[in-house]
Symmetry: C2
């Protein structure tokens, strides 16, 4: 892992893709406009301009460029992917009743749940129009399947998050739904639109899938070991919100009867008391589940690196390779 | 208008399309299943099995059959259209904070807003997969555009409904979004999948558009002149919910200063008092706006009939023709 780099891998990608990302941003601005409903750009501007790393559209552009693509459709697909991501954020905030995202008030707090639901729907329909413009049925098929995986994962999370029967395989499905499905669709459609070989398309899919899983596991781990200043989250938010994530799932799997009763009370029944977070952390410590979770994240990052090395050598391949290290570097 | 018919036009359509509708229902059941998230079929079954006339999928099947189509894609598109409809109902109920639909508790009351938002998203993604299976980019283009019109209309309605500047042209846009866009897409894709001529496709689009507008104007009128027993709504619900619909828009357009102040207080500011509904009804009576609204609904029904008569003679053409009369017959 090249920790001596002056620039982070996503910054290097942003530099090399600057011209295309400029077009993506322009397309996003144009397509989120609505002559008749000014509320739409108000709500979306709040989110789309909020910064974020634009990781997903960059993955599409990077995959296409890595495969030698020079046409305009990659820009459309990158905007598509960002619209889908933004729409899911809007709907997630309604579902989670969130008040903050990236340190700013959420749309549902600034406006209302109605705006978040309907503007999310509008962005989905805009993304749909953009992808149809590529004229590629295969791209449409990939994105339709990704959308279904995302939606199913969200519903699954809603019921599984507080259910102690949720094991690592269900967790993985949820993670694919909430994060990895869009990462893998983003890289896969980049390859498809560039006319990559079947092996290349598969490698790009595998890369996005593993990268997304590593990214989400890292995120869930940081909830318990992160520093509020760098993550923008307080330690233990997931515990307080009764969300079963990997560090707890691993502790539940090994729990004694007494420990299990603790998890039933705090997660399933949500009857939390002073000191419960500390006790939960102690149980994770007892079974060393934070380290085991970190190992899992690293293993998925390694899979992502192995997948991208199936592609021909290219400066972008090196950046994507390092990006896999970067998403878990925060943990190590 | 053939008022001597023993069976209503939508019942005749249901009879002649019974075999195809059976396949549509089977497809809906299969595709709303989710191995991993049992909450999904629970929520959708509640809505999909709730009855309703299944008017939209029947329009797709009828349009295709009228054009001589005998393949399987019409069934997929009919299920697509019903999924889109059901998804918008789920999201509408969150937006409207509705407690009842068709005399039954809504999903957001039985489960929660989360389920309504996420299961709606799931149905959208399922509809998207179904339409991709037809392999027709033109069908995808039509449905993508219809989705955007629907979403934009919903957002527009949210802001326009309580804004007295909302005139008849804005009302028409909202009506196209909330009702006519899916009706016209339903009939248009039926023609496209059947390989109808361009003139035929246009006539089917025009029929669905005008039928949808007539249907929605009739619905809005019945809110003020209907009988709670047949409509399942109480007279004046739209007034109490501060929704500007055509009968009120026509009264606002002719209001004296004093009357305008009444509309500002009751609709824009929502400060309603005992007796306000009766006063609103008196103002609509004064300008005879219920009759003018009925005339508009009849005019759109006449446009729908003229459009369908552009198609070649066929038993289904006669039923669609009579259906246009039927949607406004409740008013006359």
């Amino acid at each position: 892992m090249d920790s001596g780099l002056a620039q982070k891998p996503h910054e290097l990608l942003a530099d090399v893709l600057a011209a295309e990302m400029g077009k993506v941003n322009e397309l996003i601005r144009t397509r989120m406009a609505s002559e008749h409903a000014p509320r739409i750009p108000e709500v979306t501007a709040h989110l789309v301009e909020a910064g974020g790393k634009r990781l997903r559209p960059m993955l599409t552009l990077a995959a296409a460029k890595l495969c030698g693509y020079e046409g305009d459709h990659a820009v459309r697909l990158a905007a598509t992917v960002e619209f889908i991501h933004t729409a899911t954020l809007l709907h997630d905030d309604v579902v989670d009743e969130s008040a903050q995202r990236r340190g700013r008030p959420t749309a549902n707090l600034l406006w209302d749940n109605k705006s978040s639901v309907l503007v999310g729907d509008y962005l989905f329909s805009r993304s749909f129009q953009l992808m149809v413009e590529t004229g590629s049925l295969r791209v449409l098929d990939i994105l339709a399947n990704a959308s279904a995986t995302i939606a199913e994962g969200e519903v699954l999370q809603m019921t599984a998050a507080t259910d102690l029967r949720t094991d690592e395989s269900i967790y993985l499905q949820v993670v694919r739904g909430k994060t990895a499905a869009l990462f893998s669709a983003a890289t896969e459609v980049g390859g498809v639109i560039a006319g990559a070989t079947e092996d290349g398309v598969q490698a790009l899919f595998n890369y996005g899938d593993a990268l997304g899983i590593a990214f989400q596991i890292a995120d869930d781990l940081l909830d318990y070991q992160g520093d509020a200043k760098t993550t923008g989250k307080n330690v233990g938010d997931d515990f307080r919100e009764r969300k079963l994530t990997l560090p707890v799932i691993k502790a539940v799997a090994q729990a004694t009867d007494e420990e299990r009763a603790f998890w039933v009370r705090t997660i399933e029944k949500g009857r939390q008391e002073e000191g419960d977070l500390e006790h939960a952390m102690a149980l994770m410590e007892k079974y060393d589940t934070l380290a085991a979770t970190r190992d899992d994240a690293n293993a998925w990052a390694a899979k992502a690196k192995a997948a991208i090395l199936q592609m021909p050598e290219h400066p972008i391949r090196a950046m994507l390779h390092d990006l896999a290290d970067y998403v878990v570097a925060r943990l190590n």
